[in-house]
């Protein structure tokens, strides 16, 4: 009874809220500052079969603020911060320059070219309450769960096709020792003790259109490696690739949506051990009621393709009060989902989540 009451309170609060909009300040004739953000409170109930534990609790998945300064409609800086750790953390932090109407250059900490289902799927438009397990597992073994890195990239919009190429450190963090190389000449070590001359190069392509059908892929070569790729404390380089085909990429975009994706990563051989990981995922959603959809997802991820891997199932429904008011589906949204995971060793985990979302 108590659990149901909690869920009902959150659901009611979401439905009663009014959608907000991003604020744009005209600073001067040629400069604007756009302020946007969002918050995702949730209630979760988890049951872990491996150690026979249960947990019920409220949480904040994300609470973001984004500042985007644009000069002459051509250049500027974007700064995203997240407050859910209890303090403020940098998420995206880069300068950008529109080389032409179709080509943009960025430098700083940014999401490099990667699997379409991870950071390129905005946190405001995630199908369920979390991104696909396949993509989350891929990220946790490559760039890390933030999916960002320090580097430069170029994005070109060629008709209905978007191409992104990124040259980046390959380490994914902010540590001055390994990631953020910003030493000065007066330092006792201008390299800060690191002997590192490798970079990562990533590229992605995505073709979309008004029909709702879209597809693409990515490839990444990370010659440096990082803590997420470490085996026995030895970082490993890797090559990774993936593909996706979507019919209706965004929640609420059409009555029937289908999504298929696959990722694979091959790591550097260490002491004769070579790891290859892979994952596949399938998602479907139907508009079962006005301004809402019911979804089902199945994923399988092999951390090592020589094992049985993990299997994930997700089922749930989302409803958008903002869509009911004629606004974007993402502005106000409530999503309930049930997830089940079967580990390689047979242990089962269950997770029920109810998440609200307000985006402005």
């Amino acid at each position: 009874m108590t659990r149901l009451t909690l869920l009902a309170v959150v659901a009611l609060a979401m439905v009663a809220a009014h959608p907000a909009t991003a604020q744009t300040f005209q600073l001067t004739d040629d400069a604007t500052l756009k302020l946007s953000g969002g918050i995702q409170p949730r209630i979760g109930l988890g049951i872990e079969g491996a150690d026979d534990t249960e947990r019920l609790g409220l949480g904040l998945r994300r609470a973001r603020l984004q500042f985007r300064l644009t000069l002459l409609e051509k250049a500027g800086m974007e700064y995203d911060v997240d407050t859910t750790p209890g303090d403020l953390r940098s998420v995206d932090l880069f300068a950008f320059y529109d080389v032409s109407e179709t080509v943009q250059l960025r430098a700083g900490r940014l999401p490099p070219a990667q699997a379409r289902g991870f950071v390129p799927q905005s946190y405001t438009r995630i199908d369920a309450v979390d991104r696909s397990p396949v993509d989350e597992r891929w990220a946790s073994g490559t760039l890390g769960s933030s999916g960002r890195d320090l580097g430069v990239d170029l994005t070109a919009q060629l008709g209905e096709t978007e191409v992104q190429v990124t040259l980046h450190n390959g380490t994914g963090g902010f540590s001055r020792d390994t990631d953020n190389f910003r030493e000065s000449g007066s330092a006792s070590s201008v390299t800060r003790g690191a002997d590192e001359t490798a970079f990562a190069l990533s590229a992605a392509v995505h073709h979309g259109g008004s029909s709702g059908l879209s597809f693409g892929g990515f490839a990444s070569l990370n010659a440096r490696g990082n803590d997420a790729t470490a085996l026995d404390d030895t970082t490993r380089s890797y090559t990774s690739g993936g593909a996706h085909i979507y019919y209706g990429e965004r929640p609420g975009s059409q009555p029937l949506r289908l999504k298929l994706e696959a990722v694979a990563t091959q790591y550097e051989t260490i002491d004769g051990v070579q790891q290859r990981s892979a994952g596949v995922g399938a998602f479907g959603a139907i508009r079962a009621f006005p301004h809402g959809e019911v979804f089902l997802r199945g994923d399988r991820f092999w951390e090592d393709v020589d094992t049985d891997g993990e299997i994930y199932g997700t089922v749930g429904a989302s409803y958008s009060p903002s869509a009911a008011l004629g606004r974007d589906y993402r502005d106000l949204r409530i999503t309930a989902s049930y997830l089940v995971r079967r580990n390689d060793d047979g242990d089962i985990g269950h997770l029920v989540k109810l998440q609200g979302q307000i985006i402005f």
Partner: protein, 388 residues
């Protein structure tokens, strides 16, 4: 060794130590495009008839190549690092009440966390006198934090200032305290009283305990405070001269070399002709710093730094610059000097559009360090800057 010999030697060493590949050259060109063709902005938002919010900020992404030579090794044992980095990413909010008083809050995000940089209240007591209280850059050598980050001559502040900061207040050059500044058209004088540790730590510097706590001291006992002052005179035609003097009786942790924190007294002087990048066709700057630590039982330690900088306008809206510096970590001991050479060029697309030089700027700098105690080092940095 003369300066010219030192420069020639450093370039020879760099060529030998570093093989810049075609890919790296492409990278440098790519990064250079980031700040091209931008224009300045200035953000002022009226909150009410009496309140105004000024927003400012900037970002400095960079690409670096660093080489630490290993002179003891016979083979190719140099330590080499390539990589992208973020030197600074700042947002400053300044709320003013009728130009009489206000609050300034600067945050930086380049470390991954959002950290407080400046955080103080101010009051304009008269047209010439301003008082501040909070966490702010106290009086210090002119080449330190008093030179705003977006007006740095090269990509980093002078090495002698960075070394001085690392042995006194710390790299951020701020402290909790109060100061008064008197400023006229030609003269600026500032006096600060501050805690002396230069951090936000409650145990040593940020004294904010309440009576309900178990320990109202909750930290170290105070051995003394710090006092710092500067005096500058603008003689016109781009010429500025100034003096700095300070004493820190707080024995901050940063001065501890094994026997506990030490008091120190410090002084500095500068003579500038063209203080900031792009100010005038030719610029020249001289800086001197003296830092004297009290005897901690292992003897006194006296540090001295000298710096000379020159720049000439090139490419219409750019300048080529050169800086030579020497920093003695203890003048009482032989062979403790570090030499630093910096050469480079900066270009400002915003200046090309008639806007301030610092709004959009691209700087390429080469640094060379030779030292009695450390191996030789080379650092090449290409940095873009957007500031609004």
């Amino acid at each position: 060794m003369t300066l010219a010999q030192l420069a020639a030697r450093s370039l020879r060493r760099l060529r030998a130590a570093l093989h810049v590949s075609a890919m790296l050259r492409s990278l440098l060109c790519l990064a250079a495009l980031v700040v091209a063709s931008t224009s300045p902005a200035l953000a002022q938002i009226s909150l009410t008839d009496d309140l105004r919010l000024d927003l400012a900020g900037g970002v400095q992404p960079r690409l670096s190549v660093g080489v630490e030579e290993d002179e003891a090794a016979s083979g190719d044992e140099n330590e080499v690092r390539y990589g992208f980095g973020l030197r600074r990413a700042r947002i400053q909010a300044r709320v003013l009440y009728r130009d009489i008083a206000g609050v300034e809050y600067d945050v930086g995000g380049a470390s991954g966390n959002i950290e407080s940089v400046d955080l103080f209240a101010f009051a304009n007591l008269t047209r010439e006198v301003q008082a501040r209280v909070g966490y702010f850059p106290v009086a210090q050598p002119a080449g330190g934090i008093l030179t705003p980050y977006f007006l740095i001559d090269a990509v980093d502040r002078a090495a002698i200032d960075e070394r001085w900061l690392s042995g006194t207040l710390g790299g951020d050059g701020r402290d909790l305290g109060a100061d008064v500044t008197y400023a006229t058209q030609n003269v600026t004088a500032s006096l600060a009283v501050h805690n002396g540790f230069g951090t936000f730590q409650r145990g040593t510097n940020n004294f904010r305990e309440g009576i309900s706590g178990n320990d109202v001291v909750n930290g170290i006992e105070t051995p003394g405070l710090a006092v710092s002052s500067v005096l500058t005179y603008d003689a016109g035609n781009g010429i500025e001269a100034g003096l700095y003097a300070g004493y820190n009786g707080a024995n901050p942790d940063r001065t501890d070399r094994g026997e506990g924190g030490r008091d120190y007294s410090s002084a500095g002087a500068h003579l500038y002709w063209g203080e900031y990048p792009g100010d005038q066709p030719f610029r020249a700057k001289l800086d001197a710093i003296v830092l004297s630590y009290s005897d901690d039982g292992d003897g006194r330690e006296d540090q001295v730094g000298l710096s000379a900088f020159g720049a000439a306008r090139v490419l219409g809206h750019g300048e080529a610059f050169f800086r030579a510096e020497r920093y003695w970590t203890d003048v009482n001991v032989e062979d403790t000097a570090d030499d630093f050479l910096t050469a480079g060029v900066s270009y400002s697309p915003s200046a090309a559009r008639g806007a301030p030089y610092h709004r959009a700027r691209l700087t390429l700098a080469y640094h060379y360090r030779t030292s009695a105690l450390l191996d030789e080092a080379h650092l090449v940095v290409l940095q873009g800057q957007l500031a609004f």
